[in-house]
Symmetry: C2
Subunit: 483 residues, 2 copies
């Protein structure tokens, strides 16, 4: 679809670049039918105001049976709970869900089902045509009248827009939703005008505070720091920490502590890596500036330093979710040597759950977890064995987010476990004198101290599935009992 | 298609990034069938070695009936003439053809037909699926082992790769052909790894001398300079030469002279434009550096200064052919105020021919001519009325490249003609006291001095068509008599 307009005396046609000032008028023009698929990206995180604004507009219009395809869903989207109950939204496809909406889905309030994808799997499903998006609403920190969208310009700049790119490329209609229209041309453009059909101007796309954190913090907890130090030793023992190596870690406290120890190690050894990737933090942009990495691949900025770096540093590279982790193409994760990941639960087969919590309620999702674990040479899970509310090592995780077949090492404060399918790593870590134990041994230690967990109270009703990045079903997700 | 490989002990799959050292082995793996569509881009211009290398390889393989989809074809490709005769290549789709291959086609040596598209029309036909490319061979000045292609890195750097992007996005298989494999990651990447299935390493992708000219020259001819000065006055009279205006011109001598006069004018008036676009020359990059334009949109670099600027200047922006001129989307040409274009012939209906020459032989093509004329607010054709070998104004051009409906003004040394469908411009130019004449009057002046041209000797055989950017047939192209 494209909104054709005439702007000049010549009668030469003009496409796109049509700026809408009134939400209702745009939604009327779009004329979405019951059962339509609408997509959103989550770079504004818990500060996002666009998804609520558009979906409440569609509710007013009386559209029913929508499939909400959001790259992630946060607590701020809890106000949409009534739209589940009244059947405005009947299905959800996402890579992460936390807060009231996750609870509502787990309590059985969604009439249809929820599909949990990885970031790379989401891009695959859109680009392959497996899922057809009728309208993509792209929260744009800035846009010009022709539709060039930049994530680094604008008062609500959020940085890279990697998760929105597949949507922009394939959705039947693409709408930039912005609170800052800038003069043409808007650059650097994360999404270019040729992919955008219209622009909706709104008062605000979100709450700055929820969009970016000033800085992401390294853990100060001594146990977390010990796990980080041991993890660095594991990385060294793999033999992968050499000139030109590549690295990714999450933004959790322990993962950041690993990055911080890695930085000291690289400076001491004069080691230079090829790239670091993923959601980017100021800790990594600092390492880029120090020459410790030649480049950064950024799909999403986690803090202000990252946004600033993306705007200024030519070696700080944008990447789309497809380029990042689409299993159907040559992606960045396939060039990744080492990835540091967290986990809510892990089981004796090394399956990892970051989708549901202690009570079986949806409180997360794969994001890039599955993609980086699959693509990397060595994936390392870092976690405390004891401190978490629920026993960390289970006989079987509640929900498989990332299959054990691609999870290689687990590092805890009580020891290190290696996946039996990685004998090569087991030998290297043992030879390095690291405290390697079987995952069963670690499980017994934990249960001796914390007891065996009781099963989660669930109904028999399947409310959705965890999907592998290549499209197969990994696990069922069940409705939980309401206390 | 993607070449799956295994690189590490983990058995984790790897896509793409497969580097081939032997042309024959790659072509065997591709296994192209008779009748396949193979595409190439022309950023290496008359220095390109890739199209000959690949097509001669396919000839050796015995593949027949290929459709050659090349963004442009140059004299250097004349060595492919035997492949027309033996039926290796039976159809050609291109936006520009000059040299022996154009002659061969005009002489009837192509068993099938030739389709002449505009640059934007080519992108439209590929992205819409109207034409399905089986294999795209992308001449890459540099590529890393995962397939990230950069046009600004490498000994044969040619700059922007705008014409190859639709091919990279939609072709069933995408092969980067390079003579420089660089460490991962290669950046800035014009085409990213997720779009590339394999890399073929060759000794040389082309002849530096033919790839870029050291600098493009402004005409010194006094008549050309007079036309340039008058053209600037026309631009001023349109009222479009104001803060934030946009501009494009060809790289011909007179067009460059217009750009040069415009530069003086802007410096004098302290005028700043929003952007200049198209094939970019050092004349424009200098104006960017002087702050006369806020940005450049570059689909192809014409000289070394442009390549250097693209590499260093963040306001020098890459654009794909679709972003440039695809009529199905919101494109840059639709934001263009003024475009300066050349012509081989123009007729009394303002139809322009830049496809065939005096003798009716193929010697050019639309390139962006049709796209910029259609998209711009005012399109201006600059040409000498008398000096060219053939009478310049005809009753009917030999071949319509750009329809008169989007050609607004003609500036010659003998006067200025305005398209009757632009009364608004006629009034403005007359009010400005410019020497406006009817195109019939200019035609008579020319014929009085040069005589009426005799018709071109042609056979009745249609060998191909000139296509409008939106996909309709504009004109037939006929086989010419062999003298």
């Amino acid at each position: 679809m494209s909104f054709l307009t005439k702007e000049n005396g010549s009668g030469k046609a003009r496409h796109g670049g049509k700026v809408w000032q009134v939400r209702e008028e745009l939604l009327q023009a779009l004329d979405l039918k019951d059962g339509a698929v609408v997509s959103f990206h989550h770079h504004l995180r818990n500060g996002d105001g666009v998804m609520n604004l558009i979906l409440q507009g569609l509710q007013k219009q009386g559209v029913k049976g929508l499939t909400l395809m959001a790259s992630s869903i946060f607590p701020v989207h809890g106000v949409l709970r009534p739209l589940l109950q009244d059947g405005t939204i009947t299905n959800i496809i996402t890579s992460y869900i936390s807060g009231p909406l996750g609870e509502a889905v787990s309590r059985g309030e969604l009439q249809g089902q929820i599909l949990m994808q990885s970031h790379g799997g989401r891009a695959r499903s859109i680009l392959s045509g497996e899922i057809v998006v009728d309208a993509a609403f792209i929260a744009a920190p800035s846009a010009d009248p022709m539709g060039n969208i930049s994530g680094v310009n604008g008062k609500n700049a959020c940085g890279a827009l990697g998760y929105a790119m597949a949507d922009a490329q394939k959705a039947k209609t693409v709408i930039a939703v912005t609170d800052e229209v800038v003069p043409y041309p808007n650059f650097p453009a994360d999404i270019t005008q040729d992919l955008v059909d219209g622009i909706l101007v709104v008062e605000s796309i979100g709450e700055k505070a929820g969009i970016v954190s000033g800085t992401t913090k390294v853990t100060k907890d001594p146990i977390g720091l010990k796990i980080a130090r041991d993890t660095l030793e594991v990385m060294e023992a793999t033999g992968l920490l050499k000139e030109g190596f590549s690295y990714q870690s999450g933004a959790g406290g322990i993962s950041l502590a690993v990055t911080s120890s890695l930085r000291d190690y690289m400076r001491e050894k004069g080691l230079v890596g090829s790239f670091a990737s993923g959601g980017i933090t100021g800790h990594l942009t600092q390492m880029l500036e120090e020459g410790l990495f030649r480049a950064l691949y950024d799909v999403q900025c986690f803090d202000l330093q990252a946004i600033d770096s993306l705007k200024k540093n030519p070696a700080h590279l944008r990447m789309s979710a497809s380029q990042y982790g689409n299993p159907s193409v040559s992606s960045v994760v396939e060039k990744l040597d080492l990835v540091i990941l967290g986990a809510t639960e892990i089981d004796v087969d090394f399956n990892v759950n970051v989708t549901t919590g202690a009570d079986g309620v949806l409180m997360g999702g794969s994001g890039g977890h599955q993609d980086t674990a699959s693509g990397s040479q060595v994936s390392i899970i870092v976690s405390k064995l004891l401190s978490s509310r629920l026993p960390f090592i289970r006989e079987r995780v509640d929900c498989i987010t990332t299959p054990g077949s691609v999870v290689d090492v687990l590092v805890t404060e009580r020891g290190i476990a290696v996946n039996p399918n990685r004998q090569d790593l087991l030998e290297k870590l043992t030879a390095a004198g690291l405290p390697v134990k079987s995952i069963y041994a670690l499980k017994q230690e934990a249960e001796a101290l914390m007891g065996v967990p009781k099963a989660i109270q669930k109904t028999g009703r399947v409310i959705g599935h965890s999907q592998s990045r290549t499209g197969e079903i990994l696990d069922e997700i069940y409705q939980v009992e309401v206390e």
